[in-house]
Amino acid sequence: MTGRVVALVANPTRAVYAALLATLAIGWALVAFDGGTFTLNDLVGIQQRSAALGIVAVGQTLAILAGSLDLSVAYLISLVSLVAAETMAGQSSNILTAVVVALGVSALVGLVNGVVITKLKVHAFIATLGVALVIRGVLDHLYDGPAGRVPVDFQQLGYSRIGPVPVAAILWAAVAVGVWFLLRRTRFGNRVYAVGGDVEVARLSGVRTDRVVIAAHVLCSLCAGVAGLLLASRLGAGAPTVGTDGGYDLESIAAVVLGGTALAGGRGGVAGTVGGVLLLAVLDSVFNQLEVNSFFKDVVRGVVIVVAVAVYARRTGRRAS
């Protein structure tokens, strides 16, 4: 029995899905005991709520695997929501332009992050924190509150469903599958792991490591941009605090690490991250159903993240010795 548990935990991706199933089962039982029910609708609701965080976390996975990280995603999300909503200005005919502009802004921010980290040799923590502060300054200067207007057509992205499945969830799945494919099946993906695993080994093998890190950051920011578009469609407008209110910066990093990706890079993947995001969302859902106060909720989330990483660390520690 213990052997099986150990084998299960030995692979973080499997471990996080096992924890997810266990949480679902326990949550179901607790909610039932409490006199409520946990329905398919609740599960769909979980998808709906996790989609934005999920998309950001998938991008964050790329940055972290490459041995970097991105603290600027939350402010970028706010910025993108405003850029998109203002460009659309309530007109359906502007949707395409707005999406292109929003994603262009995202890519540019990612490029800046990547270039500052690789060419100016600033640690990713400080580089992306600096970029985050710059974006905050711009937002604070230009906006006091929500601005722009998103046409009803674009709001379909946030609210409509295909059958029982929310469009937002499909978007998340598409992004996750896309990045998974990139990591598993392309040269670029292989090199992301190599650079995150050991920059020097990658460099001596002829990998242009700077380009890999920059590309990872551009993709990470693009994911944040997609999340910004999704949130704008939900709100019907852009908002300067939508990213920071959601805590997308630290929470996306937490989800990635919970999913078994090493914070130092080079090990992990998208599948774990998706599991990590879902686990956090299911915990949220169960607590909501049980009407637990939000203070206790945060305590549990914090404990779960720390315990998970401690378990993974034990495993790697044993391997190394």
């Binding site: 392309t186 040269r187 090199r191 792991y193 050991d198 080994v201 990658a202 001596l204 093998s205 080079g266």
Partner: protein, 497 residues
């Protein structure tokens, strides 16, 4: 020297020709006028003491360093590599002691890193696996496959991965830097077989090693370097072990060393080891007495540093006796009056961003030692010049940094002081000051153990010498033993005996 197939070097195709290579770092000449050539299918050993210039020469070949003088010709074309990748593309593969592998990735991923084959834009894993399998088959290696993760492989298997990597880039010259340092005895035989296969493919193998037995087992020719200069290139069959050792070490003892104690080993016993061992050491018997300096000699990987760390409590002994106490941790070691001047002072000996004063008080504060000798007195005693207490240690020269490390230990007046490479990277003046201080400490009753790769220093300083080999005591030598005697015990073996 059993079955060496002496190959006539003239008839074979010359793949590598390095001519008149010279190199200086920061104005210090580390290589001058070195010639080295290699022919297809030849194993050419490069030998010399630590600091002879072997590694620098190989790094020039690998494109890590650029030579100040001389030329590198590969396959008849003169090449100047600006980057290791250029050397790799020209057919030079280097297998360093520290492998260049990604532990979290598969064997095939590692072999093809930077050159991944693609099919319609996508990674062609099938082709990577197939090519890796084929090379593994050719090397008769069936204990692991292309999809295994490198971290799950043994050191010997990882070495095979490095060799497969070299074969996959069609390397014509393979450099192996101390390839047996981390291998167990039976794995060495497997490595020999691999090297024979490389030879059979017409690859020139440059074999860097201290271990003369391996040199005689494998090499067709041997090039001896000493102090950055070319001593000789000889056919392995034309030279004896004794002659080779003489070429490697034969030099005048020109350095000044402080005089030894009049009556060596007269003091009380400070520390005794009986059959002590741990993961890296086995069956160590040793006695340290007040007032004597005991030198520890041995090749890299022989367990020299492990011995110091075990006595100190950093990597404790798990077997055997150590009296008066066998420390299980560094705190216990320090409490028992044992100090360790570590090999890597920047990483392990000093807090570089802190001023001299705080560094000097590091140990005293850590163990809550009350009698704080005035730091200024200590700094005068270790001859720190200028004795400024507020300077951050990172701004000091190597010699001055080492003096601060010494001051750190003097605050607690250790009964036993262990020195691991005390003068590495230290200029001549500071070296003499450190030597004087070591002798002064011994004379005032401290038992001293010193590890040094520099044989003249070890011989000049020690009252007696313990030679380690493969984690065991290979023998004891009295004061003033010759370098040849030390090398013979350290380097080997039946061949040298």
């Amino acid at each position: 020297m059993e079955d060496i197939n002496q190959k006539p070097a003239e008839s074979a195709q010359v793949i590598l020709r390095m001519t008149g290579i010279g190199k200086s770092f920061l104005g210090i000449r580390v290589l001058r006028g070195i010639d080295l050539s290699a022919t297809a299918g030849e194993v050419h050993a490069v030998v010399g003491e630590n600091g002879a210039g072997k590694s620098t020469l190989m790094k020039i070949l690998a494109g890590v360093h650029q030579p100040d003088e001389g030329t590198v010709e590969i396959g008849g074309t003169t090449r100047a590599f600006a980057h290791p990748v250029e050397a790799q593309r020209a057919g030079v593969a280097i297998i360093y002691q520290e492998f260049n592998l990604l532990p979290e990735r598969s064997v095939a991923d590692n072999v093809f890193l930077g050159r991944e084959p693609t099919r319609r834009g996508l990674l062609d894993r099938a082709a990577m696996d197939a090519a890796t399998s084929r090379l593994l088959d050719e090397l008769d290696e069936h204990s692991f496959g292309p999809r295994d993760l490198v971290k799950d492989l043994s050191v010997a298997q990882q070495q095979v991965v490095e060799i497969v990597k070299a074969l996959s880039v069609d390397a014509r010259i393979v450099v192996m830097d101390e390839p047996t340092a981390a291998l167990a005895e039976h794995e060495v035989d497997l490595l020999y077989r691999l090297i024979r296969r490389l030879q059979a493919r017409g690859i020139a193998v440059l074999y860097i090693s201290h271990r003369l037995r391996e040199v005689f087992d494998l090499a067709d020719r041997v090039t001896v370097l000493k102090d950055g200069a070319h001593v000789a290139t000889v056919a392995a069959g034309d030279v004896t072990v004794a002659e080779l050792v003489k070429m490697m070490v034969g030099r005048e003892l020109d350095a000044y060393f402080p005089p030894r104690a009049a009556e060596p080993a007269a003091g009380e016993v400070r520390l005794t080891l009986a059959q002590a061992g741990n993961a890296k050491l086995d069956g160590i018997d040793l006695e340290l007495r007040a007032g004597e300096i005991v030198g520890v000699a041995g090749l890299q990987g022989s367990g020299r540093s492990s011995l110091a760390k075990a006595i100190f409590g950093a990597e404790p002994f798990t077997r055997g006796e150590m009296t008066p106490v066998r420390p299980a941790s560094v705190r216990e070691g320090v409490a028992a009056g044992i100090g360790l001047v570590t090999e890597d002072r920047k990483a392990e000996g000093l807090a570089l961003n802190q001023p001299v004063r705080d560094n000097a008080l590091l140990v005293a504060r850590a163990i809550g030692h009350r009698s704080r000798a005035a730091v200024s007195d200590l700094l005068r005693r270790v001859q720190l010049s200028p004795p400024r207490e507020e300077t951050e240690v990172k701004y000091l020269s190597g010699g001055n940094q080492q003096k601060v490390v010494l001051a750190k230990w003097l605050t607690v007046a250790p009964r036993v002081l262990l020195f691991d490479e005390p003068t590495r990277g230290v200029d001549v003046g500071a070296k003499a000051a450190i030597h004087d201080l070591m002798r002064e400490l011994a004379d005032s009753g401290t038992a001293i153990l010193v590890i040094s790769s520099e044989l003249p220093e070890l011989i000049g300083m020690s009252d007696r010498i313990v030679v380690l080999r493969d984690g065991r005591v290979a023998g004891h030598l009295p004061a003033g033993a010759t370098e040849e005697a030390v090398m013979a015990l350290a380097a080997a073996d039946e061949a040298a005996a």
